[in-house]
Symmetry: C2
Subunit: 358 residues, 2 copies
C-alpha cells in the first residue's frame, strides 16, 4: 500500500487525499505550526474545518512534533504548504527527507533575487536541502485548474504533474489518477510553474471587471463588463506566454491546462478576484487588503515579487519597458496603491502600430 | 465625413454605429427582409427593439427596398448579417457593390464542401460576387470579444480587424478606434476567422459545466463545477490552435483577443451556453433546441458544419481519429442527440500516454 506523508494540512493538500485514498493509498497528514486547530479537529471529529468536509478513511492526522513518526516508513512526500511557507517547508524537509524519497509540491508562486532573476518554488524548496540529499530525492509539482473543494467531493478535475523525470511523473500519476481526477504529465517544469504563478497575478486583475462595473453603478444585466474582462484575459494569455519564453519554458505549455485552463478557473472567483473587485470599484489596494484580515492573497504576493523582478530586469536592460504592460499595471496597483486605469492601447503588440504580433 | 452602409440591422451591426458615429461618421442602416420591424422601430422611436437602446444620432434606417439609395455615394460597407445570412448577403452585395468599395463583415462561422474542406465566411460572402467585381473590392472582418450591448453603451472593448491588406485594415481601424473601442489589426484572416467560428462551438460546451452541476442537484457554492469548465476551456484552447494550423492560419493568433479572449467572453453566457446548460443537465439537444424557438444558435450550427467536416476529413484520411476529441463529442451531442459524457482521458495529448504534447 502506498503511503504519502503530507506536510501542511491546507485545503488543497487535504483534498488530494481523496483521489489518493480512493486508489487504496494511506495518507499521513502533518500539520504545520499554523495547522494545530485543523489537526485537532480532524482527530476529534474527522472533519477538516476549512474544507468543511470529513477527511477520507485512510487519512491519519499528525501534529508537527510527530512529523518524524509520520515520515517513518514512507517514501512519498507532498509539500502541501502555500507560497508563503515554502522556505519553512524546505527547512523542515532538510531534516525529514532521506535518500530515495520522492517529493511533490503544491505551492504556486515565484521567488526572485536582487537582480530580478526569478526562481520556481519547487527549486526554492529544494534549495534548502544539503547538496548530497538533494541529488538523491526527486521533486515534482501539481499544477492546473483545481478548486480544492471540488476535488474533495470528486468533481471532474484535470491537472498536470510536472517535473524533470518522466518515470517519476508516471509513478505519481498512477498513484492519483482516478475516474474523476485526470492527470497529465509534463516535463516542462519551468513552463508549468511560471504559468501557475503568473495566472494568480492575472486572476486578481479579473476582479477589475466586476469592480469597475460596480463603480459605474450599472446593474443592467445586458451591459455586464465581459468585454473588459475578455481583453484582460486575452492579454494575460499573451503575457503568460512571454513569461514562459523569458524563463526558458515551452510556450505551448500555456495552452491547455497549465496556463489558459488554470487562469480561467482562478479568474472565476476566490480571494484574489475579490480583492481585485474591491480595487476595481475604487479602493486602494491597501484599503482593500485591510478589509480582508488574515486572508492569504497569493496573487497579490506574486504580483509584488514578479512585478519587482520585471522592474529590476527592465532597469538592467534585460526587458524592454513596453513588455508586460498588464503585469506592470497590476504591480502599480498592488505595490503603489495606484488607481485601476488599464493601459488598453499598450496591449497585444509591441510596436504601437495596432498590428497584432504575427 | 465617412459614410458607412450597413446591410443587416442586428444588434452587433447596430452597436458598432456607436464608435463609428462617435468619430463623426454617418451610418446608413439597411434592414434585411427579416428586419422590417426593427427598421420601423428605429424610424418611429429611434430605438432598436432588440438592443433596447436609442441608436446614435448619425444613423439613418432604411428598409431593404431602399438599399440602392443607401449605397449611393458611400464606399464603406458593413455586412452585418449573421452566419445564416451570409449567402443571402453575398447575393445582395453582388448587385450593390461597385469597384473601389471596402467591405467589412461580422458573421462568425464556417462553410464546408462535400469533401469537408472548410471555408471562412468572408470568403464565402465574396464568392457570390462576379470575378471582376471581387477583384476590385476589399474584404475585411471584425472579430474578438465583444458583446453588442456593451459596445453600444461604450464599455471598454478590444477587438481585431482582420483582412489581407494592412493599409485597408489601418483605414478601418482609424474609422472605429475610440477611447473605449480598442482595435488591433491582423493580416491572419484565416486564423482569426477560424478562432471566431470555433470559439462558438466550444462556448456551447461551456454550458455543460453548469448543466452537469444542476443534474447533480448540488447547490453548495464551494463545490461549483469550475474544474470541469476549466478543463473544457483548456482543451478548447488546444483544439482552436490545431484548427488554425489545419487551415493554414498562424497558431499565435489563438493567444490574445481572437481566440482565448473571445472564447472567454462567449463562454460567460448567451444563447449557446444556455442550450449547453440544458443539454448538460440531461436533455437531448433536440429537446433543448425546441425549448428555445426562434432563437438562432450559431454555435450549434458551427458544431454541425465543422463536426461534419471533421468526420469527412477523417474518412478521407486527412485527420487522424484521435484529433479534436472535444469538437467530436460536441458534434455527437448536437447532431446525434448523444448524452453529455466528456471524454476527459482523450484530451491534451495525442498518444494516450498522459504526457502533454511538448
Amino acid at each position: 500500500m502506498a503511503t504519502l506523508v503530507v506536510l501542511g494540512a491546507g485545503i488543497m493538500a487535504t483534498a488530494l487525499a481523496t483521489p489518493f485514498t480512493d486508489n487504496g493509498g494511506e495518507v499521513r497528514l502533518v500539520g504545520t505550526h499554523l495547522d494545530r486547530a485543523v489537526i485537532d479537529s480532524i482527530r476529534d471529529t474527522g472533519v477538516h474545518p476549512n474544507l468543511q468536509l470529513a477527511v477520507p478513511d485512510g487519512v491519519t492526522a499528525y501534529q508537527l512534533e510527530d512529523a518524524a513518526a509520520a515520515f517513518d516508513g514512507a517514501d512519498l512526500v507532498m509539500s502541501g504548504v502555500n507560497s508563503f511557507g515554502v522556505d519553512w517547508a524546505g527547512g523542515q524537509l532538510a531534516g525529514l527527507l532521506r535518500p530515495g524519497m520522492h517529493v511533490i509540491a503544491l505551492a504556486k508562486g515565484m521567488q526572485a533575487d536582487a537582480d530580478g532573476n526569478l526562481t520556481t518554488l519547487p527549486r526554492a524548496l529544494m534549495a534548502h536541502l544539503p547538496d548530497a540529499l538533494r541529488a538523491q530525492v526527486s521533486i515534482s509539482a501539481v499544477a492546473g485548474p483545481s478548486i480544492a473543494g471540488e476535488v474533495a467531493v470528486r468533481r471532474h478535475t484535470s491537472v498536470v504533474f510536472t517535473g524533470t523525470d518522466p518515470d517519476v511523473l508516471a509513478m505519481w500519476r498512477g498513484l492519483f489518477e482516478t475516474d474523476f481526477y485526470h492527470v497529465w504529465t509534463s516535463t516542462d517544469l519551468v513552463g508549468v510553474e511560471v504559468c501557475a504563478a503568473t495566472k494568480n497575478c492575472y486572476a486578481l486583475g479579473a476582479g477589475f471587471m466586476h469592480g469597475q462595473l460596480q463603480a459605474l453603478g450599472e446593474s443592467d444585466p445586458r451591459y455586464v463588463n465581459f468585454n473588459y474582462g475578455a481583453a484582460l484575459f486575452g492579454q494575460a494569455s499573451v503575457e503568460m506566454t512571454e513569461f514562459v519564453e523569458l524563463l526558458g519554458g515551452r510556450p505551448a505549455t500555456v495552452l491547455g491546462l497549465p496556463g489558459i485552463g488554470d487562469c480561467f478557473v482562478t479568474s472565476m472567483g476566490g480571494r484574489n478576484v475579490k480583492v481585485g473587485t474591491l480595487v476595481g470599484a475604487g479602493m486602494t489596494f491597501s484599503e482593500a487588503r485591510s478589509r480582508m484580515p488574515g486572508v492569504t492573497l497569493e496573487g497579490a504576493a506574486a504580483i509584488q515579487v514578479i512585478g519587482d523582478a520585471v522592474r529590476r530586469l527592465t532597469e538592467r536592460g534585460v526587458l524592454p519597458p513596453e513588455r508586460f504592460p498588464l503585469l506592470r499595471h497590476l504591480h502599480q496597483v498592488v505595490a503603489e496603491d495606484a488607481a485601476v486605469d488599464v493601459p488598453w492601447k499598450t496591449f497585444f503588440g509591441r510596436d504601437g502600430s495596432g498590428q497584432l504580433s504575427p
